[in-house]
């Protein structure tokens, strides 16, 4: 029979465990130290008669109260706190919850064999090779958080996935002027996931892929910038360098089969014509001062525009951020327009058709959840998007930005997932042991209805935030 109640025992053992991390002597002295002697108070400058005694009494009362709140077992020695019958540590978690237990979802791989009409509602996992686009380019924030919780990066095949894949297949071999697609839909409806699926499919099919998961980082003044008199724009050296590096890492095999048609001569570089694009990219990456990044990236992109050997996919998430005045300021303290920044200008030119890929597709995805960079009026006009408030024809639209929206085609991601698709999403979290209940039908139907079929709300506000037993 233990001297302590079970509750106190658990806390004591937790303390003991924590103590065992420190050196033994250190913990023991902390536990067995005697209560401090009562302090004598000292007054400076003299006080009224009787007040000093009052202070001292009050201070001692407070000290006693504080000591009463601290449980006694914090002053017991370690030996007294062990479980009487065994010396074993208690509360061993099941093996599956131990770190490094190796539990992972067993899902088919995302690819042509799993992208059929029959597999709508089926969850598929993505490859985890080093050159995978997700690993190299990164992911949008919310997807990243989700994949940190899940044991395997995966997603559900939807009707709209097959539509997007079909668009990519149709566009293969033709110019990107006719294939500039923007994914739009309600917040949390799955636009970023769909764009990611398209990127994965393109990479698996041997396309050259340039994926920007967070275009907002190009306009929110988190990267260095410097005015360049030749291009008459503000270059973004570090961002260009990183994009070039990622483009090379994700597509090195394909880039080594493409060559430079014209020599590249700058102050620092002298690359002859005929060099492979992989070597050109490496030359830009070698310069750790980032100064060659923008020029080399532009050269590589220009070559990718003209070549027809491999189809190219330029995918930009947070696409609406490129239509906002950036957070950068020019020397006169005016906000820099997006088409005066090198990287946003590049993507705007691809989106508007001013620059075209001879063989490729431009795909953008809007983000409805970012209040700082909301979807602007110009994009809403171009894509015929619904607006919460009535839109007046007298509201000012920027003509330059409107120019960059010419010819954009919208692909709406449905607001609601079908029951089939939602069941697939539910089974992912169920199999990954994220649910607190075994009443699956009840949980599924209630959360499906509560979230109105919205995938993000279903997962984050439904499954992961539920307190239902």
């Amino acid at each position: 029979m233990s001297l302590l109640s079970s509750q106190h025992r658990h806390v004591a053992l937790a303390l003991a465990e924590a103590g065992s991390v420190l050196r033994a002597g250190q913990y023991r002295t902390a536990v067995t130290r005697a209560a401090p002697a009562q302090k004598q108070s000292q007054s400076i400058g003299g006080v009224k008669r009787g007040r000093k005694e009052k202070w001292e009494k009050k201070m001692n009362q407070e000290r006693a109260q504080r000591n009463r709140d601290i449980p006694k077992f914090t002053r017991y020695p370690e030996s007294k706190l062990q479980i009487p019958k065994t010396k074993e540590r208690p509360a061993i978690l099941p093996e599956v919850f131990q770190p490094g237990s190796g539990h992972s979802l067993d899902l088919p791989l995302f690819g042509p064999s799993t992208l059929t009409a029959k597999s709508v509602g089926q969850a598929t996992s993505f490859g985890t090779t080093q050159t995978n686009a997700a690993k190299v380019f990164g992911l949008p924030n919310k997807m990243h958080f989700e994949y940190r919780i899940l044991s395997t990066p995966c997603s559900v095949i939807r009707d709209v996935t097959l539509k997007a894949i079909h668009t990519l297949d149709k566009a293969k071999g033709s110019s990107s002027k006719d294939h500039r697609i923007v994914l739009h839909g309600r917040a949390g409806s799955g636009k970023s996931f769909l764009l990611h699926q398209a990127v994965q499919y393109a990479q698996a099919q041997g396309w050259v892929v340039l994926y920007i998961p967070r275009a907002v980082t190009l306009v929110n003044s988190t990267n260095s910038y410097a005015y360049d008199i030749r291009t008459q724009t503000y270059l973004q050296p570090r961002a260009s360098y990183l994009t070039l590096d990622k483009l090379y890492k994700a597509n090195s095999a394909l880039l080594s089969q493409l060559t430079l048609s014209r020599e590249l001569v700058t102050e620092k570089l002298n690359i002859p014509a005929g060099t492979t694009l992989a070597e050109v990219a490496q030359a830009g990456i070698k310069d750790k001062s980032f100064t060659s990044g923008p020029v080399v990236l532009e050269t590589v992109l220009k070559e990718l525009e003209t070549q027809t050997k491999f189809p190219v996919l330029v995918a930009v998430d947070d696409f609406q951020a490129l239509f906002h005045n950036s957070a950068y300021k020019d020397p006169f303290f005016h906000a820099i327009r997006p088409h005066h920044l090198s990287l946003p200008r590049t993507f705007l030119e691809f989106a508007s058709g001013q620059r075209t890929l001879a063989n490729g597709v431009f795909m953008g995805a809007l983000t409805e959840s970012d209040t700082a960079y909301a979807v602007p009026l110009e994009l809403k006009d171009a894509l015929n998007l619904e607006s919460r408030h009535p839109v007046s024809p007298y509201d000012k639209r920027d003509q330059v930005k409107l120019g960059y929206t010419e010819g954009l085609k919208g692909l709406k991601v449905p607001e609601r997932m079908s029951t089939n698709e939602m069941a697939g999403l539910f089974s992912v979290w169920k199999d990954d042991m994220a649910l607190t209940t075994d009443k699956y039908d009840e949980l599924f139907m209630s959360k499906y209805v509560e979230s109105d079929g919205n995938p993000r709300d279903f997962v984050w506000k439904g499954l992961l935030s539920t307190l239902s037993p």
Partner: protein, 175 residues
Amino acid sequence: MVHILGIPLPDNYKAVYALTKFYGVGAKTSKRLCARFQIHDTAKVGDLSPFQITSLASFLSSPSTAPPLPRYPLAPPNFVPPPPNTSSQELLAKFKEQQAQTAEKSDAKKKKWADPLNSLKVESELRNEIRENIAHQRMIGSYVGRRHAMHLPVRGQNTQNNAKTAKKLNRLDRW
């Protein structure tokens, strides 16, 4: 660690915050300074290039004598840049020529943009200005001057109980 005008700026500080360590530079002025030298919002002092640091230091040592900011051209949507092997010095020279020509032709009546940073005073200059202001108030025999001399509050605060800061800091030779 960088020392500008004798003020140490640790490398891990964000540049926008670090510049407020100068006496006379607050958050507003710091943002304008960063914009002038093309320092982005999240840049740390350790990430600044030597050129940026030296230009910051030379500017802050005398903001009023800094050269006027050139208005570089910004590319319109249909702009086609010259090839990469074009020398930037040539382009700069061309730009300066154009500026000189437009300066000749420009209307004299047109108001020139007043750079708020030109009237910036930092460190010793600002301290001198404050000292001169207090000395002037004393010289003309004003109430403000008298209060400074008596180490008492200047702006009409109560002195029955609190006036501790004034008694400590208000003096004629304040800085």
